[in-house]
Amino acid sequence: MKPLHFLSRSTLLPTLGILLAAPIAALADGADVIKFSEIAKKHDKVVVPIPSEIFNVLDKFDVTRNDWRAELKVPEREACKDRLQFALFLGRVVAEGFLAVEAQDQEAIRKIGRKVLSVAEELGLRKAVIKHTKAIIEEAGDSDWNAVREEFDATRQTVREEMEKRRDQDLAQCVSVGGWIRGTEIITSLINHNYSTKKSEILHQPQLLEHFTSTFKEVRTFQRNPRIKKVIAGLDKLQPLMTADGTVSKERVAMIHSISQQLRKETLTP
């Protein structure tokens, strides 16, 4: 092996010149900077935050375990009429799971874990989901709340992937919106109890609403389903309340809560 000093002065200088020139040239042509006008391709669909991202922010607010417990509504029945209804319901049940984690309610988590499995079975997803529900129940027994939360995230993700594999993207959207509606109902209830502009800021979701609304309006089969029609009508009502610039006032939070609560009763309950 040649030592590092094998280069003579005559070859060293040009070599150094080349080595230095490359990054300088890159800097000069702006390769290390990206301007907004340079964006040639934009991904059409907005990346929706996972529930843990939202709950991570809520963890920083002064919400007590009892506050979360007061919101918990473990669904008892699961006799849905069709797959769309099951998918909406599954989204709601998973959202309830996140709430049960915040409430640190082991019994509720166990019930919800079992409920997730039975609803997933109706959608032909038992095999894919069972590993998550087992883990949820085990980790709840160990009071490992972060792990339970991660497992609910993983459940939601597995369900979406499996549905997409089976070209059931529309059902995957139903699971997402079911979770989002219930999540919005829970969050607005908590903000209403102890309002602050800092908390209500989380409800400013313009493009998220647009994403859900346009997606649901595009799907033809959705337009014939009375339950989905109600979801679309509800999203239309929520849009101006959650997309306007400025502070989301206490009155607006109350309106968002009322609409999402109504939506949960009419569309996410068997």
Binding site: G30, I34, I39, H43, K45, V48, P49, N56, E201, L208
Partner: protein, 153 residues
């Protein structure tokens, strides 16, 4: 083209990458490489010490050398985010920025770089949609395969 994928837990990442390389086509192997580089950037932040939670999804695609790409993302105020872009291409210059929906202001904070990845940290002033913009300029002007991952805390 930009597509979204999911990945296994980071603890099982090595096995996932190994199996993927064996099973996938060459193009898919590029993506696995790109993802592994993005996660190389993520490593210290998603450790117990770093405290960030890695989302088990990633976004992948390919782009011409120097072509700007962007992923539209709803970011929540109150969270601190890290985004990483990895590429299998060597000898590249990479750029990353976070823009609001109008593109009038960029919000990226600290930027970190490795040989095949670039990452930026961001805390947005208000919840809403932002563009995670990036550009990979290759020395030989060939297209680059890339993957984007992110974490939050």
């Amino acid at each position: 083209m930009i597509t979204m994928h999911s990945q296994l837990s980071r603890y099982r990442l090595s096995a996932f990458l190994f199996t993927s390389i064996l099973m996938f086509s060459q193009a898919q192997a590029f993506v696995v490489d790109a993802l592994s580089f993005a996660l190389e950037g993520a490593e210290k932040h998603v450790s117990e010490e770093g405290g960030y939670t890695l989302r088990k999804d990633f976004w992948q695609g390919s782009s011409e050398s120097g072509e700007g790409q962007a992923i539209k993302h709803h970011l929540v105020k109150g969270n601190s985010y890290w985004f990483w872009v990895g590429t299998e291409s060597d000898d590249t210059t990479m750029a990353i920025a976070v823009y609001d929906k109008k593109g009038t202001k960029s919000y990226e904070g600290k930027i970190e770089k490795g040989p095949n990845w670039i990452g930026t940290q961001v805390e947005v002033p208000k919840s809403g949609t932002y563009y995670i913009a990036f550009k990979i300029t290759t020395k030989n002007k060939e297209e680059a395969h890339w993957a984007v991952a992110y974490a939050f805390k």
